[in-house]
Amino acid sequence: MSTHASTVAESTTDSIHTPPGPHELEARALSVLYGETRAVKDVSIKIPDRKVVAFIGPSGCGKSTLLRCFNRMNDLIPGARVEGEALFQGQNLYERGVDPVDVRRRIGMVFQKPNPFPKSIHDNIAFGPRINGYSGDMGELVERSLRQAALWEEVKDRLDASALALSGGQQQRLCIARALAVEPEVLLMDEPASALDPIATQKIEDLIYELKRDYTVVIVTHNMQQAARVSDYTAFLYMGELVEYGATKGIFTNPREDRTEAYITGRFG
């Protein structure tokens, strides 16, 4: 693995191996402060186009907070302050004049707990396109989004049924379909399977594998097997710092940092 890293990746330090470009997302000396607490400390990371990158680390290590910088969801948390830069296709998302509403359409997000709107399956999908002025065939878009999320066959006969009648795993795939319906370029997933059973989890993981053909996917996960299964690159965060970053296989078979090794072998976290 190290030979691969040294020949292809541009190496920043020994344990941060930046994947080859083009890079869709990038953090430059990014810090997030909640009041006095620094949840993310001076993180610099580049996320390649149409790959799956997993953020792993123990609870409170700042991985979700870092994820939320990329679609400016931290704006919604009172007292949260962002320093440094978060770039999307070279554009600093925190620059003056960047509208977070537009950022969030282009960079979609799926949350830890499925959060479908208490409306019909159809309306859950149609809401995003509708507010964003979609003028095409809504029925067709709903079908395409549900197919992309591998949910179409299960719900095609009951699009008018309440989304709350679906199982947890189906609800989460509906949330993914909903996010895809506004045609984002990046999908951020904040522990998307942690509230699901193993079978539903596997469906979500298969789906992530499919999605990376068209989307850049960043996934935060508590589950190291999951990171190993779905991601191309893995970033290990600890106490708000980026400790190690590189190809997933390398991180899991040959971690360079003691802290990474301790975490992935289950000695803490």
Partner: protein, 321 residues
């Protein structure tokens, strides 16, 4: 039963004599002195039963008094109820008297109250819950609104007289009464709506924002519809209170005798059901007491219909999810 009865069925319990030399016992429970416990179960159970009976009596007192009140008012007033009673004007002859102007006045006042209080109250609640920054000013506003809910209604009447009747030159009109009653129930609507908005899970808001919704779109399409049943219930209960209020409408100039129905909200002179009731109660003669009771029945029916409406609306909007 003796309070000092050592019940030695607990595992490891010993006689007090062996306990004195403490540390030897293998199990901590063995070192405790069972004589220090006095369960007195029979006595405690008796207290439980007594408390239950006290609560039952408290419930019955309320229910029985309410039932007696209803029976009394129906016995007195039912004989006077007729379509003519609803369609007649007040008269010095009890047989020809009716509540037409009061019924219309109450209906008008109710309509004006809801038209004024609903948008103001719900708007305030949405601002406080969805938009306002969490700072000292917001907390001050919230505290004051909560306190306003406790201000006596006659004080609102004085405010209505000074502000609407005099300063804004509305005169003794339905509009002044409606505006006064709207002020009276505004805090209740605000607090009820805030509670309803707070009950909407934050994940719904985040879900909408993550799809590129503006704050307005998140509120308009998701938060508000979810809060609506609670908001409507609170509003209608507040309106039920407004329709029964007497003191503030007296302050803004309700009339005891109306020989016409106001044509529009700014027509001079008005009356409402509770004040009509009060003015008849104040008159001598059994006839007028019966009229007052009959007016009370009309008012109660109006309130029942409104509360029924509240339940219907809540179920309707809750069922749509």
């Amino acid at each position: 039963m003796s309070g000092r009865d050592p019940r030695s069925d607990a595992p490891g319990a010993r006689s007090p004599a062996t306990q004195v030399d403490g540390a030897a016992g293998p199990h901590p429970a063995a070192q405790r002195d069972p004589n220090q416990f006095a369960p007195r179960l029979v006595g405690r159970r008796r207290w439980g039963v007594a408390f239950q009976v006290i609560c039952l009596v408290a419930t019955l007192v309320g229910v029985v008094v309410l039932a007696l009140l209803l029976v009394d008012i129906i016995m007195d007033g039912a004989g006077r109820l007729s379509l003519a009673f609803l369609d007649n004007f007040p008269s010095r002859f009890a047989d020809r008297s009716g509540v037409k102007p009061a019924l219309w006045g109450s209906a008008w006042a109710l309509l004006l109250t809801v038209v004024i209080a609903f948008p103001l109250g719900v708007g305030t609640a949405i601002w406080l819950e969805e938009y306002a920054p969490d700072n000292r000013f917001t907390r001050l506003v919230e505290t004051n609104i909560a306190n306003l809910a406790g201000v006596p209604s006659i004080v609102y009447g004085i405010l209505g007289l000074a502000l609407f009747v005099r300063a804004m030159a509305m005169g003794r009109t339905l509009l002044a009464a409606g505006a006064t009653l709207a002020l009276l129930i505004l805090p209740v609507i605000v607090v009820a709506s805030q509670e309803a908005l707070k009950a909407v899970p934050g994940s719904i808001r985040l879900g909408a924002y993550a799809l590129g919704a503006t704050r307005w779109e998140a509120v308009r399409y998701h938060v508000f519809p979810l809060a609506l049943p609670g908001i409507l219930t609170g509003t209608i209960l507040a309106l039920s209170r407004a329709v029964g209020e007497t003191a503030p409408v007296i302050m803004v100039g309700a009339l005891a005798f109306m020989s016409y129905v106001p044509d529009h909200p700014l027509d001079d002179g008005f009356t409402v059901l509770p004040f009509q009731l009060y003015s008849w109660v104040a008159k001598p003669g059994a006839d007028f007491q019966e009229l007052a009771a009959a007016t009370g029945i009309v008012l109660l029916v109006l309130l029942l219909v409104m509360n029924g409406g509240a339940i219907y609306l809540r179920n309707k909007f809750t069922g749509e999810r």
